[in-house]
Symmetry: D2
Subunit: 401 residues, 4 copies
Amino acid sequence: MDYFYAPGRNHLFVPGPVNIPEPVIRAMNRNNEDYRSPAIPAMTKTLLEDVKKIFKTTTGTPFMIPTTGTGAWESALTNTLSPGDRIVSFLIGQFSLLWIDQQQRLKFNVDVVESEWGQGANLDVLAEKLAADRTHTIKAICIVHNETATGVTNNLATVRKLLDHYGHPALLLVDGVSSICALDFRMDEWGVDVALTGSQKALSLPTGIGIVCASPKALEATKTAKSVRVFFDWNDYLKFYKLGTFWPYTPSIQLLYGLRAALDLIFEEGLDNIIERHSRLGKATRLAVEAWGLKNCTQKEEWFSDTVTAVLVPPYIDSSEIVKRGWKRYNLSLGLGLNKVAGKVFRIGHLGNVNELQLLGCLAGVEMILKDVGYPVKLGSGVAAASAYLQNNIPMIPSRI
Amino acid sequence: MDYFYAPGRNHLFVPGPVNIPEPVIRAMNRNNEDYRSPAIPAMTKTLLEDVKKIFKTTTGTPFMIPTTGTGAWESALTNTLSPGDRIVSFLIGQFSLLWIDQQQRLKFNVDVVESEWGQGANLDVLAEKLAADRTHTIKAICIVHNETATGVTNNLATVRKLLDHYGHPALLLVDGVSSICALDFRMDEWGVDVALTGSQKALSLPTGIGIVCASPKALEATKTAKSVRVFFDWNDYLKFYKLGTFWPYTPSIQLLYGLRAALDLIFEEGLDNIIERHSRLGKATRLAVEAWGLKNCTQKEEWFSDTVTAVLVPPYIDSSEIVKRGWKRYNLSLGLGLNKVAGKVFRIGHLGNVNELQLLGCLAGVEMILKDVGYPVKLGSGVAAASAYLQNNIPMIPSRI
Amino acid sequence: MDYFYAPGRNHLFVPGPVNIPEPVIRAMNRNNEDYRSPAIPAMTKTLLEDVKKIFKTTTGTPFMIPTTGTGAWESALTNTLSPGDRIVSFLIGQFSLLWIDQQQRLKFNVDVVESEWGQGANLDVLAEKLAADRTHTIKAICIVHNETATGVTNNLATVRKLLDHYGHPALLLVDGVSSICALDFRMDEWGVDVALTGSQKALSLPTGIGIVCASPKALEATKTAKSVRVFFDWNDYLKFYKLGTFWPYTPSIQLLYGLRAALDLIFEEGLDNIIERHSRLGKATRLAVEAWGLKNCTQKEEWFSDTVTAVLVPPYIDSSEIVKRGWKRYNLSLGLGLNKVAGKVFRIGHLGNVNELQLLGCLAGVEMILKDVGYPVKLGSGVAAASAYLQNNIPMIPSRI
Amino acid sequence: MDYFYAPGRNHLFVPGPVNIPEPVIRAMNRNNEDYRSPAIPAMTKTLLEDVKKIFKTTTGTPFMIPTTGTGAWESALTNTLSPGDRIVSFLIGQFSLLWIDQQQRLKFNVDVVESEWGQGANLDVLAEKLAADRTHTIKAICIVHNETATGVTNNLATVRKLLDHYGHPALLLVDGVSSICALDFRMDEWGVDVALTGSQKALSLPTGIGIVCASPKALEATKTAKSVRVFFDWNDYLKFYKLGTFWPYTPSIQLLYGLRAALDLIFEEGLDNIIERHSRLGKATRLAVEAWGLKNCTQKEEWFSDTVTAVLVPPYIDSSEIVKRGWKRYNLSLGLGLNKVAGKVFRIGHLGNVNELQLLGCLAGVEMILKDVGYPVKLGSGVAAASAYLQNNIPMIPSRI
């Protein structure tokens, strides 16, 4: 009936796509409708206003593009830059690597600042480059806020400080795919010029909308950006924004209603409460990892991610066996180690619409898997450490007090 | 948007209604249709054939009545008995109590055999009564297979043995509401005359179908049964079975498709595998209770239920506070103590479409609640005990090997 | 994949179960939840208040019973009457026939007032009986507001006038299954003592809730009513109403949310607007029938039903062939002729969540079927007649002006 | 509750997005899942095989890109061509205009062959150009199979014949957005090098997948094509095809299951039967237009489209008023006239999962609207003409015979 049916719920702990709340699934459960009727523009208008809130911007202009994160990247780059432009980009894991690959294929002149996987962006090198760049040859800084492959969160406030310190006009382009709507992110305060995320991450929707938000400076940059673009061209959107019909081509009706429902839930819970929930989930996961006697792939606390934890396994264990076993025996979906850390880490995604008891079920599952594959874990140890913390910190559910 | 929204999934561990599998929710996501078209009879025919398998009967006749378990009870009684008929009925908890109340209000002469709540049906008394009843004044034995209020499973095989031993012709009417499709149940082998369940229990559907299965002897009894009945009258069904249109009144189209999907999943997993899964879940729960230093409401191992565990709390704790706190802080739904055990027990339902990691998340939640309400539990202890057992006993998921 | 798949939408024009609005399907697309948590009682409270509005009562007490219309009938009768009680009941078609059958099987002394099928209840005979009944041996008048088999609507206001005229205290029990929420129905104004409907009719939900509304006088009658009842006993509900938990047994979570959504839509459209819409649909259908040169089974205009039209076919045509052909060739579901009018009429149900263009599609389909079976219809004639009327009478959609 | 609620179903007759079959809505009603588990690749494999059938190709390679038709265009062009390449492109309406605009912005040297809107591609000019192009400077012919703005279907077989006649090696790129899976389309037989469609058209899904199919010759062309591309690069897909994981970035889980269900329904109905159904719907619509005394925007029968009909209105009527009125009064969604034909035509989309009675309901609605806006239509005339044809030509539903 289904592919590879198993009883009970699938425990989805990959760092995306993530669990969709039931009310959002319901909202998307519908037929198509005419996107040129008054209904879709009326709804779209509220979406464009409300989506800005999750970026913490009042001055940005959002674009909800029918694409994935990869497309959102391309949109951010091609609308603001010209082939040959020098950009500084940080390589710290698989997703920053892929973005850099895209940057190079789009013919930018990429100044790659590499860190060991498990470390954050090397901002000292950035400082050096900015200091040296008196003639402002650097047109943009590209940085992944949260590297999903290694569970590393970069410090964007510092990036902004450095740019300000050196009075450098480079655009600041941020991949917020696994951070926005889950981690503290402040587009206006941090002077981010282009920020982007994907619907299937912390927004907890299906894949299908790349949300890109552009600062006034980024919009200004489109006027001189010579990169070839059509599908991803913001100007086509802006033209339809002015007309009040909003869409240069057909959007997904279902995803628009889903996004409306998702934003309603987000505002009901409260963005700051969501960030705190992710902080709890991240902290609890890291306490469990410690209790198991395992290491976090992330090398320093300052980089710890509250949306995904990459766990290093001992050399005698293949981490991909852990992921396979989770799926085959426990109906638990964990993230694989990618590229340089393939076989060495497995990842627990704890982002989006997920709560503490779901996480504890996952951690209990990981413990059993670890035992299955021969790691001498003490069953219950991680759950005990995590729940000791959680029992002290979970708030009452506001709607139920 | 929703009533009392909370992030993440609700952890539903009441002993009914239980979690519905996603494929079943999908199957029910549909418009109405004409129940007199060829489609509904064609599907109904397969349902009537297949539903017999979960009763383990080949000779029984099933009725899928648009009602609840209470209605199914009434159907079982009124179709086979006449007012004034003597029946032996066992009072061992809230649901057997309610059934007895119904039996009395339907004007039967009920011989109540009471046990302390937490004990099973007193079959010694049954033996005495059967031995004494040389003239066969007892027309029926009514027994709840699994008392949901106390987590007690009665031994039906022994009931049958006693009836056979004394050559007693009384009908055997069994409430299998929280057992059928989860516990070992054998209608034909145990000579059950009427067995019944509700769709919202182990079948993992919404409430709305009371499924009643009648032996040939029970069908024969309808001919002399003088209890007044119309809505619940099997004969109206039998008339339409003969016509091949099957329905004396409008069924729920959605529930029929849902039942079709539910049965498909049940057969895909395998009824015996389902019973084993419930055995694992029950055992794991009881190990956790023990690790917490708490007592099972069920007084002897022979009565332990694999679908629901009623946990006794110390006198200084009000068990209803545990249930409230689960809902208010952890989005965890537990069962209240009912009637005589109100305030004294809380219940963990572990039946239907639920898997081991879901249960471990629930157990982790119960531990935190216990700590919240002042019980000196060692966090992680129950999960550790349960997962030590589970890690040794969970099979690989057959479709994924 | 599906049973008897056909491309495009099924055109559902049986008089029940009827088309469910998409927002209601969405609202029901959900997992089970604990019906003893605060959420379900909170919602139930609003439902009990709001459901009274569709009965146009402020003094009535509603019961939302997990059953069908047949069960709702039984509930109305057994809660207010005792075996042997004399009741006057009108036989005018298949559904009044079935209700009378139930009344007789429930051991009431039924005074059947029969009319030719196609005529309304013979109220002259009622007047005679009331006039003659000086000692008030008649305990109840049972009348079907709208006979679904023949498309006949009875005049309830006249029934009330007669009872008042003769100062007769008999209870007035009304089957509003195919009228309430579609036709003009006024429980309080007409002094109806028990009114009832089913969720799958004008409420446009799946089958599964029988809604019964009792006047204070009907509630008073329960105290002396000796009919045996348990599942259908209103007192069990009243007990739980007082406790604030509302449910004596498990309701369907999905149907409760569905009813909430259905009522929201009903109030958004406005009950009076709904009644007018049905008036338009009924009138348009009758104009089409006339244009086709066919006769309405309903013999006089005063009885014309706005929820279902039974169309007489010429003797050389078997009306069941029309229904079969609709399903086999046009994906159109029409109602069969039942019992006395089997083969002689087919029925067009035009009740619930359906609009004018849907009806015109149906009428166009009926025309083609009529031609298929050899009736010399002028294609387009019925649609022309219906749309001439509709084009003059359809209002603008209020939300879209 | 909903935006601009209206009772009954919305009658969706825009030429996209179109009506989604209920089984497909059901299939998409699901949570996310890990796209790196074995399930998604296993399903993807079947999709890639099966999707070729709707293109009628055995040698093509399909790409299911998370994008819209506009993105699919871009993918077709950038993977096969280099900036500056000369292409011949036919401007016959709004969608060919937009594609040409894209071609120009992507820096191709576009040889635009313009026709009056309402006419097909001028293939005489193509012949001349091919004849003249001895040195094969033309690298590609870009042609829209079915121009959705004017309801014009181009003759692709002739295009192929011309290319063959002149032995010209230009690539043949075809926009099949509103034709594939509804009109006769033969990728292999007609030597199409790239064909593309969007999920929200005849496939009857939500928007979100651009399906592009490349011939071996097109794949070969990617090796020398210098257009910058990343998100739309087929090579990224091919790399993952080889790995057996299929996806270079996250697909929409829901759309994949939806596509699986849609293809299952398509094969159940049969692609040729689907094409015939569209032929019936197109013919019936044109007969209605004729009966109303209105003109088809399409000037000759050879170009008549079976998926969309653009209807010319008299000069004293603004066609956009017709569309507005449909939505405001009849819950009917029609297509606007675009660009050059704005105000002059309205469009009836009759593609995807729609049947004859739905169309007749739409046509009845259009008649009433025409009367509303002052056009002297004879009500019922179009429906009569259409149903006279349909009643002779609709086959029995195969599954129901």
